[in-house]
């Protein structure tokens, strides 16, 4: 098999650049020659069929999964060779995560959930609670602050999860199907707040979605197909 050269990426401006990623799970080749680059403040949608490797790509970029091959450079550091402790510190302090399922701690109130990432960084309780409350307000869910995740609706839960991802003012936000189905005003509010906050704070977002209306909040899109990334703007025209 001949391997095509990794797609060159504009690393000078980039905050996060992955080149030539390959990842296998047993016999499954989940990623193969996947490359992507995020500029500061840029919102990039990752689209593609189910099972094409979108989540795997996100996990490699976020330092959750170690790829078998390739590099992931975050501000000059290669996450693939970084030690586990350093990687988890990086994830905690620089990255924000929004996943579709089960991300709130059920035993904590919504306010405590949002304040948690700050408390882990030893921000004093009063200050952490103040910032968490502010974040809940931005997402219009301050009225559930005292309730536990089990006592609120799914849509409210999504908003609280977004508040928690944003409260530390991450440099890169990783969002994997963050809104569930967008057929609701809730989904729109979540996306609007998420992207507006990113714009304000010049954070980048990697937005995995199969919905075009969600991808329409991005600056550009990347398509993953059979584990390979494809930038439609640089891909060859139909011929």
């Amino acid at each position: 098999m001949t391997a095509p050269a990794p797609v060159p990426v504009p690393s000078a401006r980039a905050i996060l650049t992955a080149t030539g990623l390959r990842k296998t799970f047993g016999q499954t080749l989940a990623l193969d020659h996947a490359s992507i680059s995020l500029a500061p403040g840029e919102i990039v949608a990752v689209m593609g069929p189910s099972g094409s490797g979108k989540s795997t790509l996100l996990h490699c970029l976020a330092g959750i999964l170690r790829p078998d091959q390739g590099s992931v450079i975050y501000q000059g550091q290669d996450l693939t060779t970084l030690r586990d402790a350093a990687r988890s510190t990086l994830r905690r302090t620089q990255f924000g995560f929004i996943f579709q399922f089960g991300q709130l701690v059920p035993e904590l109130t919504c306010l405590e959930n949002v304040a948690l990432p700050l408390r882990m960084e030893r921000v004093p309780r009063a200050e952490a609670n103040r910032r968490a409350t502010e974040e809940l307000q931005r997402l219009a869910v301050e009225d559930v602050a005292g309730q536990r995740p089990g006592e609120i609706s799914g849509g409210q839960g999504q908003r609280v999860a977004v508040a928690r991802a944003l409260v530390t003012r991450p440099r890169v936000i990783f969002a994997d199907e963050p809104t569930g189905a967008l057929d609701s005003l809730n989904g729109e509010l979540v996306l609007r707040q998420l992207t507006a906050t990113a714009r304000e704070t010049r954070a980048s977002i990697l937005l995995v979605t199969h919905e075009a209306r969600v991808a329409a909040y991005s600056d550009r899109e990347i398509v993953v197909r059979d584990g390979r990334t494809r930038d439609p703007l640089t891909a060859g025209a139909a011929a």
Partner: protein, 186 residues
Amino acid sequence: MSMGQTFLGLLEAGPRHGYDLKRAYDERFSHIRPVHFGQVYATLARLLKHGLVELDAVEAGEGPERKRYAVTEAGVADVDHWLARPEAPDPYLQNTLYTKVVLALLTGRSATDLLDLQRTEHLRLMRELTQRKANGDLIDHLICDHGLFHLEADLRWLELTAARLDDLAATLTPAGGTTTGRTIRA
């Protein structure tokens, strides 16, 4: 929808008479409402005039049905160009997009490239509408949403088609005799 390019694509399989072309066209692209002979010959005359087809053979006798047409190099280039150019997003595109995908598969061009290109074009407009919605009032919101939902429906169909390209290619593998040097691939 462009009958001209579709004819050219069909002719890539080999020269055909006008009536044969009409039959192939009706079968693949227009089974609900067959095209008129008049339209077929008008289209062929136009292609001939622009050098996109040439007469391959003229049999003895009178009338247009005696002529056999072959696609020229310029004609093939014209199909390339048409397939490589995304359509302006529009809620009622389905027919043209369907024709493009089928034609790409029939002629061994990349339907995946075509779909990716079209997605980019649709998303460009969807971003514009999303932006307008963010800056607009409730009325803007409703109007933009209408456009967004329609464009999304187009794209969902495109994605599903992309996922089915292999099946579609298998369905379209020439059973009716005409083969080309090209192989059908997704």
